[in-house]
Amino acid sequence: MGELNPGLILILGALAVPLLPGKSLRGIYMLALPILAFGYLQGLPLGEMGQFKLFDLTLTTARIDQLSLVFGYIFLIATLLGVIYALHVADWVQHAAGLVYAGSAIGAVFAGDFVTLFVFWEITAISSVFLIWASRNPDAMASGLRYLIIQVGSGVILLAGVLFYYRDTGSVAFNSIGTQTFAGQLILLAFGIKCAFPLLHNWLKDAYPRATVTGTVMLSVFTTKLAVYALARGFPGTEILIPIGVTMALFTAVYALIENDLRRVLAYALIGQLGLMVAGIGIGSELAINGAVAHAACGILYFALLFMAIGAVLHRTGTARASDLGGLATSMPITATLAIIGALTAAAVPFFAGFISKAFIVSAAMKAGHLWVWLALLAAGAAVVIHTAIKVPYFAFFAKPNGRASSEAPMNMLIAMALTALLCVGLGVYPKALTEMLPHKVKYDAYTLEHIVTQLQLVAFAALAFVLAIRFGLYPVMTRSTILDTDWLYRVPGRHLATFTNRFRSWTWEWLADNTVHGATKVHDVLYRNHGPKGLFGRSWPTGKMAFWTTVTLGAVVVLSYL
């Protein structure tokens, strides 16, 4: 298997999951898959592999370089953590779907050409929707369907872009594209849908909170970070990405602040952090690209940790609503502690992983002289503290004294969270493990006294704002509610339009059917009266109706063939 895309190990391996009897045997097998793929990837040399000819296209099914390696490794680590977190689940559909999903995301990262990318891109869409449907309730079914339409749509747009790209360049190699051509714009749109660009972001906050407890953790890792990888590969230094990223980072802050469902809060916060990565890719300097890649890796870890912690709360209490939670720190102390580690990483507190990666991007904005971008990213960084880092653990585990869960999270969940937390702290204390993996060799030390103190100031005063807002009753009250987002457009007026169009169509159809039949009958009656056996013109030539129409048809064919 010298030239296999590492993602295929998970995808093919997943096929055996339904056949394995018993939870423990299946568990051991599923743990072995990402470890096996990790070992296999380590043995592969850098370069392009697995080439074969399809018609006159040369496909490169595995390209190992610095950029794809970082994503490959972090995806495999996240897969392992996700598998551990889900070990208690008996439902094989989720396990198999999760592994195929992870495998296809890894496969897409190592794809050297657009055709391979497209294939894996669509498999991520189709496999991941089962993690949403596995909730097995009507809301999840509807949400999953909306998710699938948008995700597959992204793939179709990608394919269209690739066709134009092939026509223009005669190549399907996946390298830097640029937005000058129509092909480039289509491909950017396809990546943008998966990366939750503003106005294209709704599928994420719609579907992630509806997935199963363990499914959401997997979903939070792959789709969007695959899109970040694709942007870093195809569009580094594309300036339009800077305002897009800044918009993502800012508008989600307000939504995360007022949203009641804590998994949806995390979904909005996730989009906000994607904004930082997108802005970093837009800035395009080596430091900025490194920052985007590093922040993708750290973001995977701390969002997985936070989704795991809130998932454990949901698992034990049956709800993730801030309005219904609170005070769980006494009954779930370990989950609470691990959630706080995730929160400190999200807030980019020094000596946690988020500090390093965020510093890369913010410093890159400063070095490139983008004052407003720098201020916006700084503001978004402070806002994370009040809308996610403090909010999520506070409303779940503190806030009210009387909350109670049946017990602490299951052991496998605790182990998965503890390992993720360990990585969050480990990469913060020993950042070299991550920074030496990054695609560009740039010297940058985040741990200067200046940077540590200024970041602590930013976070501490943001925390002060949170405390004061709660104290003075200014912090938005958490209530069971629906917060309107742009999905309103297709879920309310869009639905009315669809209903109306459908009614209009059936009405038109009936009208047309009535009238044409009526009209045709009338024409026939007139003709029959004049040309029929008893008609004025038919008396001496009593041919039937059929012969007459045959003549008309043949005549029409003759006329048409000469036109």
Partner: protein, 94 residues
Amino acid sequence: MAADHDPKPKTQSQTENGTGLNAPKIDNRIVLALGAICVALALVDPLIHKHGKFEIEHYVGFYAIFGFLACAAVVFAGIVMRVILMRSEDYYDG
């Protein structure tokens, strides 16, 4: 097949409205500790030499004030947007 979490919520804090006696609380000791940290960080600020290329960064207490104001802005934006965007939980079911 059932969902993979306990079907019935077991939390006892089922009050939906977080106001009055059920308003979220923060221990006074935590407020004081945070206040002390903030004061300490504000006091060391003039001692730190900043190397950034933007002039605004060199104002004393820039990061503290900016962080606080950014959060205050988000909170007030949240108060306004909540009024505009919030609907009942079953809004899309109708």
